[in-house]
Amino acid sequence: MSATLTLADFAWKNVWRRRMRTCLTLCGIGMGIAAFVALVGFSHGFEQAWLKMYESAGTDIDVVQKTFMATTVAESAGPILQALPEVAQASPVIVNMMDVTADINAIVFGFRDDSFDLDAMKLVAGRRFHGDDAEVMLGQLLADNLAKKPGDTVDIQGTTFKVVGVYTGGSAIEAGALVMPLAQMQQLASMQGKVTAFHVKLKPAAKGESTDDWMHKAEAAIQAATPELRAVPANERASSNQLVVLAHAAAIGTSAIALLVGAMGIANTMAMSVFERTKEIGVLRALGWPARRVMGLILVEAAGLGISGGLVGILGGWGALRLMSVIPATKNIASASLPPAILAEALAVAVLVGLAAGFVPAWRAARLSPVEAMRYE
């Protein structure tokens, strides 16, 4: 029994007639999708790492500056927050990215030595730093990268610090980070009297009171006590963190450009394909195909190119993420995790790009008069 010819079969055979052109088109859209998957996956992993960091430390609320660009908070807000009945501890923190060698940069945290954030960092070697001495603790990933252990030194922006401890953190961010006394960080970053934020741990909710209600109450109290600042629940803070927002924006912006190039590849391929098949399209119309079915065929071809390129791109993007999670420059902050939602998004984007790119050629094909198309040389 012969096989049935379906619209999808027909579309596939049309696309595969020009193998080289199809392969090049798939590469184009594949690169766009790979960029999307890698960059969005990277920024997603970055956001998840921040969230995990807050969760592992037990941070309930992040108190930050209201504006986006001016990201420093007066250190004097600390005692005001600490005095609130809802607050167990308000820990000042500075976060920055710094060069720890000529080739390696890392996230650097500045904490007080009694900060609850340090409790989540499990020492695997050495000890915590004391007071404001020029001492640092290294996340295990960073320590391996730098080949440093307790007793060694690191130079950061011209200041020599003694490595006193190596820790494992709850997230990739902590594991690849460096931690130093707050006062040292303020000196390096010229932020005397200022911090990036306060990590706030709340006291337990009263019996019978829901966590959400307690959280809202605490937010309101903090807001009232420090009206110039913003109290953000930790789970929201992970997504609104300036670094995460910038990472997302850069990911979307860069991959949009790559996708545009891929889309133009599909549009060109479909336009050429319709042009070459003008006579054939006339024959389809003569055989009774309505214009919308012709348009449907071209759109199925374009969507097929999008999906195929998308699958190629997903594989490439995942590979790029894997690579970023092992190379020294990015392994401290990159995670190779790729949630299904991002894969689904990538495939949806690939299909939409294919359809959008194929629309004009499809519409033009549908408008061809049968007799003019069949006369075309």
């Binding site: 012969s2 010819l5 309505p290 007799v371 069949m374």
Partner: protein, 221 residues
Amino acid sequence: MSDSLLEVQDLRKSYEDGQIQALVGVDLKVAAGDYVSISGASGSGKSTLLQLLGGLDRPTSGKVLFKGANLGVDVDLDTYRSNSVGFVFQAFYLLASLRAVENVQVPWVGTKIPGKERAERAEALMVEMGLSHRMKNYPSQLSAGERQRVAIARSLANNPEVLLADEPTGNLDSVNSAKIMDILTGLQAKRGMTLIVITHEDSIAEAAPRHIRMRDGRIVA
């Protein structure tokens, strides 16, 4: 209401803003089951007439009636071509990327006809054309005569009432020409279809029970 299957009334077709007059007032009636040949020199308007009869184009003025309904006005042209007309062309116009039996299925692609039925009907048409051994071949692997037979099978896909053949033997040698004409006339007799054949060849033209001659966009005999 006309008792003709196809009728044209004062049919005119011009191109290039009237500079080229392909048909200049043609009147014709074709009854159901008729076998009509149309001949004439190049540029006489015979292909244009066939295209209008087949709903491939619209007239500049005049009417083309199918069972009394005005094509393009009372009857959608796509529906007419899909349900009532089959075409056979001089150049065959098979799709190079599809196997022979797949070419026969092209009229059904994207319709609601179940896949199994499509495959069975296509096979049956190929067998009817004597091409059971050529089902999986591509057009490039078929002889000219075999390609035209595949095209005829394809034209029968929707059980048309009218079969329009534009120079069906134009690219064939005399032996294959005779075979193809035998097939077409055999189908016409067996299925009771209306067959209209455009031809340059006198022998084919005069073999039809009704032979129309055209010159300069008019029927002259």
